[in-house]
Symmetry: C2
Subunit: 299 residues, 2 copies
């Protein structure tokens, strides 16, 4: 039984399949398979059931998993205790939503390049639910997602809030300065699809105002949404930084509303027992650089 074998077992047990786990370990699938086989041989126990299409944990495998986690944690702690102030290094795949990608992510990348050059950041942009799934399957080391995860094997750390404003094109019902039910009936609501964090904000607001769902036009790209809003296609909400920028250029106007939009809390999420310094260091770096209020870089 070796630490390498246990590490291979951990990833194989918690990733969607061996290929993904192997990728995570910078290993070929066949080598990973052999490591698992050798671990099984050394413990004289079958850890995976291969009779099905996918390898799944046996009872013994389930029994081993928490032990393996503990062992790897202690091993990591051991490395930290002894080799203090060693440069953190490795690839870190970070999942982010489009909003994060367009506001503070470039800042984070710049910071990491100068402060922690041995960390190779690999950003992956997708909607929150996809990122969450990727975290579970082992495709990501960590992700910044709206809200906390309710999944037991994902740990969430609050890192910041994004604020939103109601906006409309200047020529869209120019007399009206406030978001009303009538306005929402007249013009479609342009927003991200359900499942994105922003939807929660909108649903909260609609509920608080006792309004029915207006016509809803969804697209998974903030850029497209902003474009549609500027075109006067409908009304919608934008992150405060964006709203500010477009307002300054007179491309959009900010609408008031009787009830404020709740801010949206974002959390840094990672696999609960993944205590690698790579992850904790990345969390610290994200905390240093997160800022949802900045204007998007592309404008």
């Amino acid at each position: 039984m070796t630490l390498k074998q246990l590490e291979a077992f951990y990833w194989a047990a918690t990733c969607a399949n061996f290929a993904l786990a192997a990728q995570r370990l910078h290993l070929s699938t066949s080598s990973l398979s052999k490591r698992i086989a050798e671990l099984e041989q050394s413990l004289d126990v079958l850890l995976f059931d291969r009779t099905l299409h996918k390898a799944s944990l046996t009872e013994s495998g389930y029994a081993l998993l928490p032990q393996a986690v503990q062992l790897l944690q202690v091993a990591e702690k051991t490395r930290q205790v002894v080799s203090k102030n060693q440069a953190v290094s490795g690839q870190c795949s970070l999942g982010v939503g489009e909003l994060s990608a367009l506001t503070w992510l470039p800042q984070l990348a710049t910071y990491l390049r100068s402060a922690l050059p041995h960390i190779k950041l690999e950003p992956q942009v997708d909607i929150g639910s996809a990122l969450h799934q990727q975290l579970l399957e082992g495709g990501l080391d960590c992700a910044v997602v709206a809200g906390r995860s309710s999944h037991p094997s994902i740990a969430s750390h609050t890192i910041g809030q994004a604020k939103f404003e109601w906006v409309a094109a200047p020529h869209l019902s120019p007399a009206i300065q406030e978001v009303t039910e009538a306005l929402l009936k007249e013009h479609p609501l342009v927003t991200l699809p359900r499942g994105a964090g922003t939807s929660r904000i909108l649903d909260d607001w609609l509920l608080a105002n006792d309004m029915d769902l207006a016509q809803r036009f969804t697209c998974n790209s903030w850029g497209v949404i902003a474009g549609l809003l500027i075109e006067g296609f409908g009304i919608g909400i934008l992150p405060e930084g964006w709203a500010r920028s477009f307002k300054r250029r007179k491309q959009l106007r900010v609408l008031s509303s009787a009830v404020q939009l709740n801010p949206l809390s974002y959390t840094f999420q990672h696999r609960r027992h993944d205590d690698r310094r790579l992850v904790t260091t990345t969390l610290a770096a994200v905390r240093k650089n997160v800022d949802f209020s900045v204007s998007p870089r592309l404008l």
Copy 2:
């Protein structure tokens, strides 16, 4: 960093020297040295100071030791959780005093041979203080010693008591049936050297009876002591089983005493963090077979 390296480090750090640690791991000294060197390289830290005659732990080495212990313990636990009911195997060097060796040790050996054939018992007979030292230096896995160890890195488990009787040859002051100060002044006290557990019993008794030390003749062999007592060389104490045997053969008579001799408690001792099943299983086997009251096999 591998488990093998940490195991090598643990033994190298806690044994008297690398050679002994290597022997313990069934490894050549050079291989052990290389393992340590590789561990140092992988952690990028010097663990031993080689400028002195003997390699001694550096500050980092001292920091690593408890972590290594914890890691090895968790590893051992992990093996146990998964591979339950696996046969325990390995060489187990057990230190015992002569009294244990001559009473219950053969019984233990027989038991182990039939019940746990994969454990190779290697008994080593010496006086308690030597066994204790060997435990500390790593020369022994475990030992049965009189009294508990006060050393922080040695764990003690009480396993039984030995009772002793005052004896004398039938022709030695035949009128006297009780141990008195006068008797002890007339005849030398034949006993084990100071440092053996039996000395404590005698000192307790002398103190309780407010007696001064009589003339004392010491020898490190119970066989020699019994021989001298039978010869009428002096008076002394013998384990109850021995006293019973010699009394039955009329070679010795048992003397009464106003104050009883305290029984002597024996403990099973091992290195505190050595949780190998080999050790715990041996402890259980010793508990099953320990019996200081049996007559010695050689009589």
